[in-house]
Amino acid sequence: MSSPPRRPRAPDDQAERTHLAWTRSLTGLTACSAILVRWLARDVPVVAPLLVITLGAVVAIAVTQRRRIRRQLQGLRDGVIAPDVWGCLSLTAALVLLGVGGVAVLFLSPW
């Protein structure tokens, strides 16, 4: 006896998985912000902008999550999705600024 044919997976789970991937990135950025709070005691003028950048990225991702998953679900139904160039570029820019700022603190800090 042959087994019944499998139903194809709904494409909507692609949007859900992408949504979760953004959420995990948001969590990582939040953890970095917590470490930066420890650094605040050292050099406020340099560390405070880094904290603002990191928390800004966290808030930006959180605020755009709903719009992002709606756009992706619509795109999956329409058969075409515009790549999120600005989202990816902004996240990269935030990370580069965080890394370069971190190096600056390493060398500027008397600790």
Binding site: P11, V80, P83, W86, L95, G99, V103, L106
Partner: protein, 134 residues
């Protein structure tokens, strides 16, 4: 005569930055676009772990390691984190272009770089630990 598909505006082509980075080709299956975005995010989280690790090494190991060792390990982690982050974006753009042109996705150049730097960072940490015990 234009087909309806050619007349219809492509959502993947609006925006000057998108036109500049992804100038040609046809829109791929949306599942591939999302898979590429998730791969970018996975690389970005790797970069984030490296940057966060660099920050944490300098913030929390002050009582364990000397200043120069601490700074060296933190600098290595922060530097490779930045390289990894930029590489993630470059790989995302190259993969998106390849999918739009219907060619093979390029091999990520980040893999050998990340492996080499991870080995160096591990050796540095081992050396620091062993020197502290001797």
């Amino acid at each position: 005569m234009d087909t309806p598909e050619e007349d219809a505006p492509s959502p993947a082509r609006d925006g000057w930055l998108r036109r500049r980075l992804l100038p040609d080709g046809t829109d791929p299956d949306p599942r591939f676009t999302l898979a590429n975005e998730r791969t970018f995010l996975a690389w970005t989280r790797t970069a984030l772990a490296l940057v966060g690790g660099g920050l944490a090494v300098d913030a929390f190991t002050g009582e364990v390691w000397g200043r120069s060792e601490r700074k060296l390990v933190a600098l290595l982690l922060l530097a490779i984190g930045v390289v990894c982050s930029v590489g993630a974006f470059v790989h995302w753009v190259r993969s998106e272009r390849a999918m739009r042109r219907g060619v093979s996705i390029p091999v990520p150049i980040l893999v050998p770089i990340l492996t080499a730097v991870s080995v160096v960072a591990t050796l540095v940490v081992l050396a620091v630990i062993l020197r502290g015990q001797l």
